[in-house]
């Protein structure tokens, strides 16, 4: 598999909503490349006919009874939110004008 490049790190960071300084990126590039090479070991195995395991214990269509139950009150949500006003969680504007 191809070596990890600085632009890969930048692309993944963007997807993960993280940012790194140039210095951090350099250190990260080294570590990240090593970790990616380390996990590439699984590529050695022939898994052509092997089904994937997504859960250790398979359970399907687990549904609860369709019954109303109380959720958190407006007040409780307000006490958790970093900014809350008149029943709304306040966030910065989506776009600068």
């Amino acid at each position: 598999m191809a070596d990890i490049t600085l632009s890969d790190v930048e692309k993944v960071a963007k997807l993960a909503k993280l940012s790194f300084s140039d210095e951090e990126k350099e250190v990260f590039l080294q570590q990240f490349s090593r970790i990616v090479h380390f996990v590439e070991k699984i590529g050695e195995l022939d898994t052509e006919k092997v089904p994937p395991t997504t859960h250790a214990v398979e359970k399907w269509n687990v549904l609860r009874e369709d019954k109303e139950t109380p959720s958190l009150s407006n007040e409780e949500i307000g006490s958790l939110a970093p900014r809350f006003d008149e029943g709304h969680i306040i966030v910065p504007k989506v776009k600068n004008a």
């Binding site: 598999m1 380390f38 996990v39 070991k41 590529g43 395991t53 359970k59 958190l72 966030v91 504007k93």
Partner: protein, 476 residues
């Protein structure tokens, strides 16, 4: 008699005979915690101590004993890992991003152990940030030290819980185990740690790291104590869609005669410390003398467990940790637009190891790499699971070291992520396969460091697993 030397069973018997009150037990622990925190090289097992609340719970428990409404766990103090919700108190996961977040509901395990049985919460224990680590050094709230050597790590990620039990700062504790996070610190701190079968203990109220691998379990002084707490918190929970319809009932007799024990040849690796190898050989001799039938077995895909784990666990983590965006709770960075707020909150709120894992998880799930990494890892997970199914056709339990080395030094592995990941080499496969596994104390090195042995059993095989462990515990 020092109260803090007593097991949960002994405390329970003393409470029943009115020889001691829960208030006295709780006070003894709270004083010990305070003394430790003000010492020059503290263990620092806790990120928050619930002193006043614990005393109030203890008084309530004493009333229950007086009224004859107590269960065997009523009034016994417990330490809870800081990724498990206790309503009204902080759950930080030892991360900056959750600083100040107060849980708005109880985890099911807290509902059962604390609200129903009346166990007393001493506090929330330190951990690797979001349970990502093997040394409790990635905590945003300071390191935890090994109670038996303050220059060494307690293991992780449940390092605070293990150090609390090993350091006599709690009689029993809860941890969570995604790749060894209960068993590895249990081995490093001289305690018993059980990772139950996936689905037997509800994950409701446990902050998710890798949902298909995470499981809550006890850390205790004895196998019996671990069994008591496990029994009290296990059982179906409609609030966890992966919870199984299974109510365990554990009976301990310690029967080793005729028990078939397999030792995987793949566990004898180059990095295995000779002191640990010697300890394993000694254990095998003792088991054979007690009438157990020990045989070499093979788990052929063992060497793929760690790389498989780091694909599966980081993929799930990158998705689970998307919720920390500064909107609804926890830390929020100042920013002029919403998208800038997301990035700044996460960049300032998460520590380096968490970022590394989010990055790897995002990478393996991203377009063009999904099949080669994530799907591939899920297939290898099947092979690892099948290895165990084949092994358990021949043996009752599998025995091996919990960790390749005794506790390592503080700072020794922080700059080398892969070396750190490899300290979980023996524990990770049980999570991938979903099977129960436990670590129990198996002796000491000449330097006075604790050693631990791991036992693994087939899915829902806790009865046999705990009984063999109980037998081994009573060999000494």
């Amino acid at each position: 008699m020092d109260i803090r030397d007593l097991s949960v069973r002994e405390l329970s018997e003393a409470l029943a005979k009115k020889e001691v009150s829960s208030e006295e037990i709780t006070k003894a622990y709270l004083e010990a915690i305070e003394k430790d925190e003000s010492s020059p090289e503290p263990i620092h097992a806790y990120v928050s101590v619930l002193a006043d609340e614990a005393l109030a719970m203890a008084k309530e428990a004493d009333k229950k004993w007086a009224r004859g409404e107590a269960t065997k766990l009523t009034g016994i103090p417990i330490a809870i890992k800081d990724n498990i919700n206790v309503k009204g108190y902080e759950t930080t996961c030892s991360s900056r991003i959750l600083k100040g977040y107060k849980a708005s509901y109880d985890a099911t395990v807290v509902e059962r152990l604390v609200r129903q049985h009346g166990m007393v919460v001493l506090g929330k224990t330190n951990m690797d940030e979001f349970a990502m680590g093997s040394s409790t050094e990635t905590s945003a709230y300071g390191i935890t030290r090994n109670p038996f050597d303050r220059k060494r790590v307690p293991g992780g990620s449940s390092g605070g819980s293990a150090a609390a039990v090993g350091g006599k700062l709690a009689p029993v504790a809860l941890g969570s185990d995604t790749g060894g996070s209960i068993r590895q610190p249990a081995a490093f701190c001289g305690c018993v740690g059980l990772k139950p079968t996936y689905g037997t203990v509800s994950r409701y109220g446990l902050v998710a790291f890798a949902s298909s691998l995470d499981q809550i379990g006890p850390l205790a002084k004895t196998v019996e104590d671990a069994a008591w707490v496990y029994e009290a918190m296990a059982g179906h929970d409609p609030k966890d869609s992966t919870s199984l319809e299974h109510t365990p009932a554990v009976k301990l007799e310690g029967n080793l005669k005729g028990v078939k024990i397999g030792v995987p040849k793949e566990f004898i690796i180059e990095g295995l410390d000779p002191r640990v190898k010697e300890n394993l050989d000694e254990m095998i001799r003792k088991l054979e003398a007690a009438g157990a039938r020990v045989a070499e077995i093979s788990l052929p895909h063992s060497e793929y467990a760690v790389p498989t784990y780091y694909v599966v666990a980081t993929a799930e983590a990158s998705s689970n940790l998307e919720r920390y965006d500064g909107v609804k709770y926890g830390y929020r960075a100042q920013a002029s637009t919403l998208s800038e707020m997301y990035v700044k909150t996460r960049t300032e709120g998460f520590g380096p190891e968490v970022k590394r894992r989010i990055m790897l998880g995002t990478y393996v799930l991203s377009a063009g790499y999904y099949d080669a990494y994530y799907l591939k890892a899920l297939k290898v997970r099947t092979l690892i699971k099948e290895d165990f199914q084949k092994a358990f056709e021949k043996v009752d339990v599998i025995l091996g070291p919990t960790t390749p080395t005794p506790p390592f030094g503080i700072g020794e592995k922080v700059s080398d992520p892969i070396a750190m990941y490899l300290s979980d080499i023996y524990t990770i496969s049980a999570n991938l396969a979903g099977i129960p596994a436990l670590s129990l104390p198996s002796g000491w090195t000449k330097e006075g460091l604790p050693l631990g042995m791991q036992l693994m059993g087939p899915a829902l095989g806790e009865q046999k697993l705990l009984d063999v462990a109980y037998g081994i515990e009573h060999l000494r």
